[in-house]
Amino acid sequence: MTVLPYLVAAWIFLIGVYGVATSRDLVHAVGCLSVTQSSTYVLLVAVGYRRGGTAPVFSDVPPGTSVVDPVVQALALTDVVVGATVTALLLALVVQADKRHGTVDPDELSELRG
């Protein structure tokens, strides 16, 4: 087992969060949130990896062949669906924010404070 995929997942998570925290543009921030989410895909797929394993489709390989874990791939797919929903909704809200506030810079959205 190698730790590289886990380090990569942690790095992607942190770099995405850094992007959201310092973003000057809400569209960019939504993109960074998607980057953060990709860390979960990397982690899940890395967890299920088996050395020398093939895709878990048994139509053309004999039963008993070493395959990677199909459960995490199902999880990652569900995760993609969730992520698409969240991104679509947030982008729709950004469009509305642009229409109502005339800006997509979070520094200038300052109606709610204290």
Binding site: A21, A29, V47, V86, Q96, L112, R113
Partner: protein
């Protein structure tokens, strides 16, 4: 208990997905459904002009929200919990930003969306780590596999911290709480009733469930570590929430901060990790849901009638609405913990657990109840001098951050003149519910038994995996009202009334020292995200210490 698609476990091993209806989960699902009915009745005449072509959008979203919350309360599978968690999150963002034609709701919904999604992804990372360790996703199965290796290592702690992050974001524990006031202040009032009444408590439920079922055994996180982490966050939340609550003049925002404070108290009750603490917390949640939803309902009526939820602008405006004034005052007294409201009973049961807790509980309920009473006195009685409604105070050349509640659009198409009967009835019924929680002994017995069952780590796994009922808990005699508990309830109420009186007479020192705390609530998504990361760090330090 139901295995979806009939994939039952064989010899304790399973590939199925399980739904578990234990008594606490079922109770929470019932509370959600009751509140959803109340909200739908309340919003009957609420949106006079539904968006063209989407007349059913609002009820549909509310029902989807209910589905997410009930699913979260009933699932016995960690990954399903994440999916339901995201479902209720996404519907929550949509509902918060429902009035897209206005500026503020859009901003509140964006903040809500960013912070909650980030928390959700942290939870998913934690679930991934747990799957890597155990190869399981069912909560009971993960717990059993972890227990096979009785010495928890760094990976278990990391998974604990990450899984809890998302749930604590939902539960608005400090420092994950920043999204909540921003979202609550701008969401349509019926949505606020649901968000404050049950969604935030779902986060606390998730924390309790994961701690008891997954990490509660010998292979999980030691009880001392879990208790320390949750206690610190709970106490912090209670203090910060009540201080901020007192400083607000936007009525809905004030109620939102009182939710932060009370959720801190719930978390403290759960953090004791005892059945008694949990039973008290459950009663507190039930009573709080009724009282807080009724308060929001009254605030919504004010908003629709006067087009403002600003305490200063509304000064004396409610003098002709005696009924609503009475309801608001009763709700505020319930928040302050006046026996026999359910809030007071739950508070009393938790307080008896540990020596210094009564101080915290009395203080927090007095301050939050006092703030609500202050609003009631000013708005409905016109008491005291009219607070200046001019722009923000200037201190040291710097603008004081403050959200006023003026220039809000009424949520009904036009201002209402007569009080709509459904709105008033719903508020009254919710308060009656809060009263019933504290005065029906059978409910307390049921909740105590449910909490015993909930805390039992092994019995849960046995029931879910091996069928049959494991560990028949001896029916402990349920505690009910005790004299000290009731006395503390009266004490906090008296303190709340005193605070409100002093505030109305303006004989309290000004809250200038809270300015740094208020400046943290900057409305900036990036800041909140940074605080969330700091919170993960804090949680990790507390759990590892």
């Amino acid at each position: 208990m139901e295995w979806v698609g009939g994939w039952r476990p064989h010899d304790g091993a399973s590939v199925g997905i399980v739904l578990v209806g234990d008594r606490v989960g079922l109770g929470l699902a019932a509370l959600t459904s009751l509140l959803v009915v109340a909200v739908l009745a309340y919003s009957w005449r609420y949106f006079d002009e539904p968006p063209h072509g989407h007349a059913g959008a609002f009820p549909a979203l509310i029902l989807l929200f209910q589905a997410g919350m009930c699913g979260f309360a009933l699932t016995g599978d960690l990954f399903d919990a994440f999916v339901f968690f995201e479902l209720m999150g996404v519907v929550g963002y949509a509902l918060t930003g429902y009035r897209v034609e206005e500026a503020r709701p859009v901003q509140g919904a964006l903040t809500f969306g960013f912070v909650n999604s980030l928390g959700g992804y942290a939870t998913l990372l934690g679930i991934g780590l747990l799957y890597a360790r155990t190869g399981e996703l069912g909560m009971a199965r993960i717990g059993r596999r972890l227990d096979a290796v009785p010495d928890p290592d760094a990976l278990v702690f990391a998974a604990f911290v990450l899984v809890l992050t998302g749930l604590l974001v939902k539960a608005a524990a400090v420092p994950f709480h920043f999204w909540l006031p921003d979202a609550h202040a701008v969401a349509p009032t019926p949505v606020c009733m649901l968000l404050s009444g049950v969604m935030v408590e779902m986060g606390v439920y998730g924390v309790a469930r994961v701690q008891a079922t997954v990490f509660g055994g010998p292979g999980g996180v030691p009880e001392d570590d879990a208790r320390r982490a949750l206690l610190v966050l709970g106490v912090l939340g209670a203090l910060v929430g009540s201080v901020m609550c007192w400083q607000q003049r936007h009525v809905k925002r004030l109620l939102a901060f009182s939710t932060v404070a009370h959720t801190g108290l719930f978390l403290t009750g759960v953090a004791l990790l005892t059945p008694e603490g949990l039973a008290g917390t459950c009663l507190y949640v039930l009573g709080h849901a009724g009282a807080k939803a009724a308060l929001f309902a009254c605030a919504g009526i004010l908003l629709d009638r006067h087009g403002s939820v600003d305490e200063g602008e509304l000064h004396g405006a409610g003098r002709d609405m005696r009924g609503i004034g009475l309801l608001f005052t009763a709700g505020a007294l319930a928040l302050a913990g006046l026996p026999p409201f359910g809030t007071a009973l739950g508070k009393a049961l938790v307080e008896e657990q540990e020596a210094p807790l009564p101080v915290l509980f009395v203080l927090v309920s007095a301050v939050t109840g006092g703030a609500a009473l202050r609003v009631a006195a000013r708005v409905f009685l016109g008491a005291g001098a009219r607070p200046e409604t001019t722009g923000p105070e200037i201190t040291g050349g710097e603008e004081e951050p403050e959200t006023t509640g003026g220039e809000e659009e009424p949520e009904t198409g036009r201002r209402i003149r007569l009080l709509p009967p459904p709105m008033v009835t719903v508020a009254a019924l919710l308060l009656a519910g809060a009263l019933a929680v504290g005065s029906v002994p059978a409910l307390t017995d049921g909740v105590t038994a449910a909490a015993e069952e909930f805390r039992d780590h092994t019995a849960y796994a046995t029931t879910v995996l091996d069928g049959g009922r494991g560990g028949a808990a001896p029916a402990a005699p349920a505690e009910w009202w005790t004299w000290p508990g009731a006395a503390l309830g009266f004490l906090s109420t008296a303190l709340a009334v005193a605070l409100a009186t002093l505030a109305v007479r303006r004989s309290l020192p000004s809250g200038a020292w809270t300015a740094p705390l208020r400046r943290l609530q900057s409305g900036h998504v990036g800041d909140y995200v940074a605080w969330t990361m700091a919170g993960i760090g804090l949680l990790a330090v507390l759990a590892w210490w």
